[in-house]
Amino acid sequence: MAKEILKITGMNCAACSARIEKVVGKMAGVEHVSVNLATEKATVVFDPDTVSISSIVEKIEKAGYGASSFTEKTMVDEDKLKKEKEIQTLWDKFIVSAFFAVPLLYIAMGPMIWWLNFPIPSFLEPMQYPLNYAILQIALTLPILVAGKNFYTDGFKAIINRSPNMDSLIAMGTSAAVLYSAYSVYQITAGNFGAVENMYFETAGVIITLILLGKSLEAVSKGKTSDAIKKLVGLAPKTAVVIKDNKEYEVPIDEVETGYIILVRPGEKIPVDGEVLEGITSVDESMLTGESIPVEKKAGDQVYAASINKNGMIRFKASKVGGDTALAQIIRLVEEAQGSKAPIAKMADIVSGYFVPVVFVIAVLAAVAWFAAGESLVFSLTIFISVLVIACPCALGLATPTAIMVATGKGAEYGILIKGGEALETTHKIDTVIFDKTGTLTEGKPEVTDVITVGDTKRNELLQLAASAEKGSEHPLAEAIVKEAEKEDLEILNIDRFEAIPGYGIEVEIKGLNVLLGNSRLMDIRNISRTELCDRSDILAGEGKTPMYVAIDNKMAGIIAVADVVKSSSIAAINMLRSMGVEVAMITGDNKRTAEAIARQVGITRVLSEVLPQDKSNEVKKLQAEGKKVAMVGDGINDAPALVQADIGIAIGSGTDVAIESADIVLMRSDLMGVPGAVRLSKSTIRNIKQNLFWAFGYNVIGIPVAAGFFHLFGGPLLNPIFAAAAMSLSSVSVLTNALRLKSFKLLG
């Protein structure tokens, strides 16, 4: 069996991806096919002896879509350009469309809004110059129809292929309106000036314009979805310095194989995963782990692709290259998670699968029945068009995007960026929230929490000496000590000698004093007694703090403890989630003791500690297997797989770009109150969308039988297309008005 990824073009909705899956799935030799609408890719598993990839491509093209072999190069470069061009084209079409739709709406609807007294030139008065009025509307409508021509080409093609989609609904609805309007214009030219009241050009024009706006926004969102993967791919360096026969060669990353010896200088990215052979350095793995503190690496330690070598030169042996690196695995996880289908897509499937054919059949049957009953052709045609016009999916199309538009705008006001309707739809179902620790529940920036002295040493003296010793260091723990000293206006002293002791700490000479600053092992190798401070040190560690010993002239002087402090909003956010019935958990790579210390502070009882970066998504999976709807809140690249695996990924705005791109929701203010806020906003939005859909469907359910002349059989009214259009407009107004109610949403209730 072979596996091939194809780039698909021309898909508009879930019905399109379903159609491709159906036609390819039926081919002999194709074992599995999965089409991802968001990434516009199809993964095909097939038997190359039975079927070729070219015949699969041909089959897809025959179904009305484009298909081509997919490569990373295509995705990152050509695809990016293509996407940008597509977005630009859609915006151009929308602008042209809106440019003509606004005066069209003004001319068509202005006279109906008599109380606003919209001025209309006398030569365009419909009751005085109906043909002028009609010609102007045609002139304004034509450019809009040209701008929206793809709806017609794709929509009717889909009908011909017996797989109607949303474009089919738009094409049929607006075509009915345009054709009936054209017939009315013909009536006017024939002297039936009353037909001036039966034109619906503005209906078609405004629908096309609004849908183009929606499509443009959708294209932007789609582009951002794949940006996450592009950014991850972009993290990996393009070349590596390989040592062969004691000579350095710079080779493309694709040519690096396992077993190669690779040299990495300070400031360079580590190209592939491997094991350090020689050299000592600290490596910034924050892009992968989210942890801001660099990790020290020496011979025997593992290094990972895309992490940054900070201060030492190392040689390492490549152990995992290409698709096997930790980075590649994260990329794969993100892609797989994005492949899952959204619940909203199911709604689109149902609508496109049944709505159009059913409406069309009703329209045809009603028209034929009336004609057979002896009514005129014009009467039957009126029935046919009335049914299509009232069933035009305008309100149905607006129901979800308007609510989402208002809700996402409202969310943005509160610093909650929600990436599209799917995220909003899913968030309201969340019953479990997992918080990453560092940078999420905590500030992610260590601070001095305790300064403990022994003997005659004064607190300020200890802090001053430690800060002076650490002044030149960029290590986050050192920065915390210097910052604390500056906060207390302590003078930073000049040092006479500095020596870094890798893995232990530093030794400096300041004003004739020998100062040692480092971990317990440093004190032990210098035979400095820690007895007095052992218990305090353990307590501090138990509280999740990092204790650093300070010795002056080989005598223990004290401890400076540094810790990542809990955010002020963490406790309130967790309490609020609990009050909403949401279970809260914490996940971290830290040891159990530190993790539990932080969890106690914020009031979390379910703690998932010592979890390796690559296992975070497995923990999410486990909870999902229990039937939970899980939201993951994190900020690091190591959180990215978990963010996409979770039903909802929530990234902190101050976190890494990849985490932000992988998430469904981004909290711009790093304020965790945004988490319960997002859940509440989602609940309000979904309630609003359901109300909108009720109105949108309600008008159709009531309007279609009336339009088909059902009540006319019993002497009831016959729905003139003008009332059909009015009902359709009313349904849109109801939907829009209802959606706008979301503007009054309050984050904290």
Partner: protein
């Protein structure tokens, strides 16, 4: 960006040309063209009922029931009125009309007359003095007095205070070819009981008030079919 500017510029030019063209032509003018043609059809359908009126001074069209619509014949400044509706007073008296309660001069012998002067003076006498030419002159210079009702496909000329004379755009195609329309308020105030008024319909009709607001109001209507 360049493409977008080009498209917008071209669109603006096309739009401007279209507006200019539409403003320049009047062949699609329903009031200016078709109202005259259809009024002529009414005149042609009953030539024996169109005559000069010596007493009120104008051209008059007389319905089969005897009601008359009279329009100004000349620009003689001594003429008091430009448009007139005249009809028998008997049905109204029989329905309870107290003639003394009507405005002075409205009852002339056995007739009731409703008169109206055109705002800003009457049209210039075109000289030809035929009924149609004079009507055409009214349309040309006072078109705001003429309206077209799309839903019922007829024209009307306003004779003030909600009174009007209406005629179908296509004689024969309309339900009613000519209609005398009276505002009932003044008659009801003078004692007329609409339910007892013979020969006139008392019905609600859709129209627009001065602000353009669609309204439904009661009218006394006397319609006739004069076409084949």
């Amino acid at each position: 960006m360049k493409n977008r500017i080009t498209v917008i510029c071209v669109s603006l030019v096309i739009f401007g040309l279209l507006i200019y063209t539409l403003a320049a032509i009047d062949t699609t003018d329903v009031i200016g063209k078709r109202s005259i043609g259809s009024f002529n059809a009414v005149l042609s359908a009953m030539p024996e009922n169109v005559a000069e009126d010596g007493a009120l001074g104008g051209w008059a069209i007389t319905s089969p029931g005897g009601e008359r619509f009279i329009w100004s014949r000349s620009s003689d400044p001594d003429m008091s009125y430009d448009l007139t509706l005249e009809f028998d007073s008997k049905p109204f008296l029989d329905a309870g009309l107290n003639a003394d309660m009507l405005p002075e001069g409205m009852v002339m012998g056995e007739k009731i007359v409703i008169v109206s002067a055109l705002d800003g003076g009457r049209p210039t006498d075109p000289g030809a003095a035929s009924p149609l030419e004079l009507f055409r002159e009214i349309v040309r210079s006072k078109r705001e007095y003429i309206n077209y009702h799309a839903a019922l496909d007829h024209f009307g000329i306003k004779i003030g205070n909600g009174n009007a004379f209406e005629w179908g755009k296509d004689i024969g195609a309309n339900d009613k070819d000519i209609v005398f329309v009276l505002d009932p308020a003044v008659f009801i105030d003078a004692g007329v009981d609409p339910s007892k008024l013979e020969g006139w319909l008392y019905a609600k009709v859709k129209t627009m008030d001065e602000s353009g607001k669609p309204v439904e109001v009661y009218k006394f209507l006397k319609p006739y079919n004069i076409g084949d």
